[in-house]
C-alpha cells in the first residue's frame, strides 16, 4: 500500500517536473503537431507554407518578447496592438511624404518608444495599475491612428520599405524571409540584454525580490519604466514588419492582437507564477499558436472552432502553471 502510494507520488513528481519545463512542453507539442500535420497534409511542409508561417509569426513573436518581459514583472501591456498600428501608420505617412525609409522606420520605432515610455512612467513612477494605464494608452494610440489617417488605409509604400516584410534573403541554400532575420536579431539582442547585464538581472528578480532590490538602492520605478518602453519598442518593430509585409498601414490593423500576443507570451511561460522563463519559450509559444492556426485552416476545420482551440490551449497553459506551483509545494 505504502509503496504504491509512494510510487504514485513519484510518478506525479516526475510528471510535474516535465510540465514545469515549459520550453520542453511547448517544443514537444510543436514537434508533435508538425509531425501530425506534415503526414496528413503534404502542403504543410511545403517551402511556401513554412515561409508563410515563419513570416506571419515573426511580428507576433517580436511583440510577444516585449510583452513577455512586462508579464514577467507582474504587469500587463494591453497597448501593444494599437502601438503596432501606430508605428506602421506613422512610418507609412512619412514614406508617402517622401521621407527616406531609414528615417520613417526610426520615426515609427520612436512612436512605439513614446507610447511605452508613457505607460512606463505612469506605472513605474506614479504607481498606477498597469491594466488601466495600458487600456488607456491602447485607446489613445488607436485614436491617434484614426486621427492621422482619417480612417483610410495608407497605401503605395515603396519597395525599399516593403522588403522589410516581403523580402527574402538567400541563406544556406534556402531562402529566409527578412522579417524572420529581423526577429532573430532582435531576439538575440534582447537575450543578451536580459541575460548578461544588470538590467536583465534586476528585471528577472523584480517579481520575487522587489523588497531586496528596493533596499539595495535599485531604481524600481525606472526598471518598470524600461520594461514598458521596451515592450513599446518591440511592438513598434513588429508593427513595422507587419505593415511592410501587407504594404498598407490600415488604421484597423492589429485590432485585438494584444490577446494573441499575451497568449503567445503566456504559452511561452512568461508569467509571475511560472519561474523558468526565457525568450525561447516565448518564441516557441508564438510559433505554436501560429502553427496551430495554420494547421486548422489547412485541415479545413470550420472557422467557428478555431478561436476555441486557441483559447483552450491558453487555459491549459495557465492550468499547468497552477498545477506545477501546487505540485511543487506538495513535493517540498
Amino acid at each position: 500500500m505504502v509503496t504504491r502510494v509512494s510510487r504514485a507520488l513519484r510518478l506525479q513528481q516526475r510528471w510535474y517536473r516535465f510540465l514545469s519545463n515549459r520550453e520542453g512542453v511547448v517544443a514537444f507539442l510543436l514537434l508533435l503537431m508538425t509531425l501530425v500535420l506534415g503526414t496528413r497534409m503534404p502542403t504543410f511542409l511545403s517551402a511556401q507554407n513554412i515561409l508563410n508561417v515563419a513570416r506571419s509569426f515573426s511580428w507576433i513573436a517580436v511583440a510577444a518578447v516585449g510583452e513577455g518581459v512586462v508579464l514577467l514583472t507582474g504587469g500587463i501591456d494591453l497597448s501593444v496592438g494599437s502601438t503596432m498600428a501606430l508605428a506602421g501608420v506613422v512610418a507609412a505617412l512619412l514614406l508617402q511624404g517622401g521621407t527616406p525609409v531609414a528615417v520613417a522606420v526610426f520615426a515609427g520605432l520612436a512612436a512605439g518608444l513614446l507610447i511605452g515610455f508613457v505607460n512606463g512612467s505612469l506605472v513605474g513612477r506614479m504607481g498606477l495599475p498597469p491594466f488601466i494605464v495600458t487600456l488607456g494608452t491602447m485607446s489613445v494610440a488607436r485614436g491617434i491612428v484614426f486621427g492621422l489617417t482619417g480612417g483610410w488605409p495608407v497605401r503605395d509604400l515603396p519597395w525599399a520599405f516593403r522588403v522589410l516584410g516581403q523580402g527574402d534573403l538567400p541563406f544556406l541554400g534556402g531562402r529566409v524571409p527578412v522579417p524572420v532575420l529581423i526577429l532573430a536579431v532582435l531576439v538575440l539582442a534582447s537575450s543578451l540584454l536580459l541575460n548578461l547585464t544588470l538590467l536583465g538581472r534586476y528585471i528577472r528578480l523584480l517579481p520575487r525580490a522587489e523588497p531586496a532590490l528596493h533596499l539595495s538602492g535599485v531604481d524600481i520605478g525606472g526598471l518598470k519604466q524600461f520594461v514598458y518602453t521596451f515592450s513599446g519598442f518591440m511592438a513598434a518593430a513588429g508593427g513595422l514588419m507587419m505593415t511592410a509585409r501587407l504594404g498598407v498601414a490600415a488604421p484597423t490593423a492589429a485590432v485585438g492582437y494584444e490577446i494573441d500576443i499575451i497568449a503567445a507570451a503566456i504559452l511561452g511561460g512568461a508569467s509571475v507564477a511560472h519561474r523558468g522563463w526565457s525568450l525561447w519559450g516565448v518564441l516557441l509559444g508564438a510559433g505554436l499558436l501560429q502553427v496551430l492556426r495554420n494547421g486548422l485552416v489547412l485541415m479545413g476545420v470550420h472557422p467557428y472552432w478555431q478561436t476555441g482551440v486557441v483559447g483552450a490551449m491558453l487555459l491549459a497553459a495557465i492550468l499547468i502553471d497552477y498545477l506545477v506551483a501546487r505540485g511543487s509545494q506538495v513535493g517540498e
Partner: protein, 530 residues
C-alpha cells in the same frame, strides 16, 4: 553633524508611529535605540534609510536636506534590517553585491556585465571577516538557514565603506558568538569614524557598544542620554514608561528578588532564542516579559524611595567620614604617637635617667610602636591606602594578602589584568564588597580556603565572585531575616550592589561552601597605560 533629523512625524491613519523625532549624529558616534516592539524603532530606521517617507519633518545629511524616496546607498548609508531582505533566487555572492555589482562597463550602470570572479573574491573576504560558515558562494540563499541569511545581509555592509550604518536588531536570528562578532564590528566601525545607529532590545548589547542611548516610546523620544550617565533601570523605566524616574531606583531586599526575576527572565529569553528563531513569537514574549517587569518594578519601588535615598546618603557620608577619620588618625594620632616615641627616646638617652626607668621606657616605646601599627591597620580598613594610587586590583590584592596573614585562611586571588580605572565611588564600593565578603567568610563560614575573582563578563560590566569551602548558607536563609538578627555583612553588600545598579546572587556550591557573585555596570573604563 553628519545626520540631522528635525521634527520627523509619521502616522498610519490616526495612529502616530513617529511623533516629533529630532536628533543628530556625528561621525564615529554609536547611538543605541531602545524601545518596545511597536515603539517606532524600525520605522525610524526605515525613514533614515530612505524607504519610508515621513508625513512631516526633514532629514539633513551633511547639511543637505533630502526628499523621499532617496537612495540611501548613494549617501553612504547602509541598512541591516531586522530580518534579512534578500533575493531568494540569487546566490550568496549575488546577494552580497546586489545593487553594487562590480563589472564592465562602469557606465551606464544598467548595461554593466557583472564580473563574477572578482565579486566572489570580495564576498569570500567579507564572509571571512564575519567568520561565517557558508557551504558555497553559489548556493541560492533560499536554501540557507535563517542565521546564514542574516550573515549574508550583514556581509552586504562590509563590501563597501559606509559613513552611517543602520543596524535594526538583527541579533534575534544570530547565535551568541555571531552576536559578539556583530558588537565587535560595531566597535570597529566606530573606531574607523563610521556612525552607527543600533536599534536593539538587548540592554547588554546597547550598554556594551553605544555612546548614547535614545529611548523611543509610542513614537516619541522619551530619553536621550549618554550611556555612561545612565543605568539599565533608567532605560527600562523609560522603555516601559514609568512616570517618575526616581521611583524606579530599587530598594535592597525588594531589588534582590527583582534581579532574581530578571535573571530568570533573561535565561528564559536566551533559551527561547536557542529553541526557535521565530521573530514574531519572540517579540511577543519580550513584550510580555517587559510588561511583567514593569508591573513588578512599579509595585516594588513605590514604597521605599525615601529609604533608598537615605541609604545612599548614609553610605556616601559614612565613606566621607571614614576618609576624614583615616586622614585624622594618620596625620594627627600617628604623628603624635611617633613624636611621643621620639621624645621618650630622647628622654632615655639622657644620662640622669636610672636604668630601671630606661627599661620601663623601652617597654612603653614598644607599646607605642605596637599602637602605631594597630592604628595604621585601622586606617587601612577605613581607607585602603593603595586604592587611590594603584587602583582597585592592587588594593584588593594587598588587602587579601594582609587578610590571609591575619586570619590564616588561604585566599586565591584571580584578577583580570586590564581592569582599567573606574570612577572612585565604584572602586571604593567594590573594595568594600570584597572586604565585607571576606570578613563574612571569616566570621561565619568556617572555611579554610577562599577563591576571589574579579573580571569583566561583558563590556561595561564588572563582576566579583567569592567562593569559599565553608558551611554555606542555611536553607531558609533570607536577607531580611539576617538583618533582623543583626548580621549586617551580606546586607551591606546587597545595599552597595543595589546602589551601584548591579546585581547580587548568593548560592550554595554543590561541593559545600558559598558562592557570592556580584555584577556591577560601569562607564567605559580608562585604559591603563594608554
Amino acid at each position: 553633524m553628519m545626520l540631522e533629523l528635525e521634527h520627523i512625524r509619521k502616522s498610519f491613519g490616526k495612529l502616530p508611529v513617529l511623533d516629533d523625532v529630532s536628533f543628530s549624529l556625528g561621525p564615529g558616534e554609536v547611538v543605541g535605540i531602545a524601545g518596545k516592539n511597536g515603539a517606532g524603532k524600525t520605522m525610524l530606521l526605515s525613514v533614515i534609510a530612505g524607504l519610508e517617507p515621513p508625513d512631516e519633518g526633514h532629514i539633513r545629511v551633511d547639511r543637505v536636506p533630502l526628499s523621499w524616496p532617496f537612495c540611501a546607498r548613494a549617501l553612504g548609508i547602509e541598512f541591516i534590517p531586522q530580518s534579512p531582505v534578500l533575493a531568494d533566487d540569487l546566490d550568496v555572492t549575488g546577494n552580497i553585491f546586489l545593487g553594487q555589482e562590480i563589472g564592465w562597463p562602469a557606465r551606464p550602470r544598467w548595461l554593466r556585465v557583472p564580473n563574477r570572479r572578482r565579486m566572489d573574491e570580495l564576498a569570500e573576504q567579507a564572509l571571512a571577516t564575519l567568520e561565517a560558515h557558508i557551504p558555497s558562494l553559489r548556493e541560492r540563499v533560499a536554501y540557507l538557514s535563517a542565521e546564514q541569511r542574516q550573515l549574508v545581509a550583514i556581509a552586504r555592509v562590509l563590501i563597501r565603506p559606509a559613513r552611517l550604518i543602520l543596524v535594526d536588531d538583527p541579533t534575534a536570528l544570530l547565535s551568541t558568538p555571531y552576536q559578539r562578532k556583530l558588537l565587535h564590528l560595531i566597535e570597529q566601525w566606530r573606531d574607523r569614524g563610521t556612525a552607527v545607529l543600533f536599534a536593539s532590545n538587548d540592554l547588554d548589547h546597547l550598554f556594551a557598544v553605544t555612546d548614547r542611548i535614545l529611548v523611543l516610546r509610542d513614537g516619541r523620544i522619551v530619553m536621550d542620554v549618554s550611556t555612561d550617565e545612565t543605568t539599565r533601570e533608567e532605560v527600562v523605566a523609560a522603555i516601559v514608561g514609568m512616570r517618575d524616574r526616581g521611583e524606579v531606583t530599587p530598594i535592597i531586599w525588594a531589588v534582590d528578588s527583582y534581579y532574581r526575576a530578571r535573571e530568570e527572565a533573561e535565561k528564559l529569553q536566551h533559551q527561547q532564542r536557542l529553541l526557535e528563531k521565530n521573530l514574531a513569537a519572540q517579540a511577543l514574549l519580550r513584550e510580555q516579559l517587559l510588561e511583567q517587569l514593569s508591573l513588578q518594578i512599579a509595585a516594588l519601588d513605590k514604597a521605599n524611595r525615601a529609604l533608598q535615598e537615605a541609604q545612599r546618603r548614609l553610605l556616601t557620608e559614612r565613606e566621607q567620614e571614614r576618609k576624614h577619620l583615616a586622614r585624622e588618625l594618620h596625620d594627627q594620632v600617628i604623628q603624635d604617637l611617633l613624636s611621643i616615641n621620639y621624645q621618650l627616646e630622647d628622654l632615655a638617652e639622657a644620662r640622669e635617667v636610672p636604668e630601671s626607668v630606661k627599661a620601663d621606657l623601652a617597654r612603653v616605646r614598644e607599646d607605642i610602636r605596637g599602637l602605631v601599627t594597630e592604628v595604621r591597620r585601622i586606617c587601612g580598613d577605613l581607607r585602603p591606602p593603595t586604592i587611590d594610587s594603584l587602583g582597585l586590583g592592587a588594593a584588593i590584592r594587598s588587602y587579601a594578602r594582609e587578610w590571609q596573614e591575619r586570619t590564616g585562611i588561604h585566599v586565591r586571588v584571580d584578577i583580570e589584568d586590564a581592569l582599567g580605572r573606574l570612577p572612585e565611588p565604584i572602586e571604593l564600593s567594590l573594595f568594600r564588597i570584597v572586604q565585607e565578603g571576606l570578613n563574612n567568610v571569616w566570621k561565619h563560614a568556617q572555611a579554610t580556603e577562599v577563591e576571589l575573582r574579579v573580571y569583566h563578563p561583558s563590556p561595561r560590566m564588572i563582576a566579583i565572585t567569592l567562593a569559599d569551602n565553608g558551611q554555606g548558607l542555611p536553607e531558609d536563609f533570607d536577607l531580611a531575616a539576617a538583618s533582623r538578627a543583626g548580621h549586617y555583612g551580606l546586607l551591606g553588600i546587597s545595599e552597595r550592589v543595589a546602589l551601584l545598579g548591579g546585581r547580587l546572587s548568593l548560592k550554595n556550591r554543590p561541593g559545600g561552601g558559598l558562592l557570592l557573585h556580584v555584577e556591577v555596570p560601569h562607564p567605559r573604563p580608562l585604559r591603563e597605560g594608554i
